[in-house]
């Protein structure tokens, strides 16, 4: 891990708000996702609905890239609330906050909450991700 990434992780204390980020999945990306997860549900193909887990994965990927998760990071739990249909063509914004950071011995636990809004500022998805990071790599 680079010093810059190490420094970013060390700044992630409870209450840290990530800068909002735009999310976009075009039809090709959605198709590739559906093929990858082998989901043939007609809703996605006929109604142009984007699978919510695709958006959640996209949001989490953007967050994890931003903070530079170290090798050995373990995803231990996930909460998701699906509150609205996400359609192909929607403009989505992800907002995230560090909800909790705890250190136990050699391990750091990080819980990040995120929310996805559409172009009408309606919340379509919220989530909470808990990770365990090795303390030696977590900026301590």
């Amino acid at each position: 891990m680079t010093n810059k990434e190490n420094s970013k992780l060390s700044q992630l204390e409870t209450g840290y708000q990530f800068p909002p980020s735009s999310l976009h999945l075009d039809a090709e990306a959605v198709s590739a996702y559906l093929t990858a997860v082998e989901d043939g549900n007609h809703l996605y193909r006929e109604d142009n609905i984007i699978p919510p887990l695709a958006i959640a994965a996209c949001a989490m990927k953007a967050l994890f890239e931003d903070i530079g998760l170290p090798a050995g990071t373990i995803h231990i739990s996930q909460e998701l609330e699906l509150s609205g249909i996400i359609n192909s063509g929607d403009s989505l914004t992800s907002q995230a906050i560090v909800k909790r950071r705890q250190t136990r011995g050699k391990l750091n636990m990080l819980t990040i909450g995120f929310g996805i809004l559409n172009q009408q500022q309606d919340t379509v998805l919220t989530g909470e991700t808990s990770l365990i990071l090795p303390a030696a790599e977590a900026g301590q």
């Binding site: 590739a32 990858a36 997860v37 082998e38 989901d39 809703l43 695709a54 050995g72 996930q78 609330e81």
Partner: protein
Amino acid sequence: MALNREQLSELREGMELPELKKTVTREKIKRYAEASRDFNPIHLDQEFARQAGLDGTIAHGMLILAYLSEMMTNAFQKTWLTGGKLNVRFRTPARPGDTIRVSGRIRRVEKNEGETTIICEVLCANQADEAVITGEARITVRTD
């Protein structure tokens, strides 16, 4: 299509949701990595995964979680997409070669004024019956 009143009234505690079975392969993990843009080497590089303390590469947790969401969408259609909640823990990694059985059972149906909540326990288990993901899925439907 969302659940209608008749379909809601037919739901009972103890009902099993239609199961899914998915096989995890290196190729499918690679495909998911490309689709999700998550190229964490723990999923793609055998040597890296071993150095990280694993026996080899593992599937993305979000790939297995997608299977769970698929089961819920198949069972509850748009009702899941507009009123679903998942609360799960990742117990053991899914590995190439694993067959994952995705199952759910209605634990409770709560009827309150203006809404009904269906509470399911959900499980993704491998072929050795080890829990990969455990947790709860809830669907809330407006009935007013």
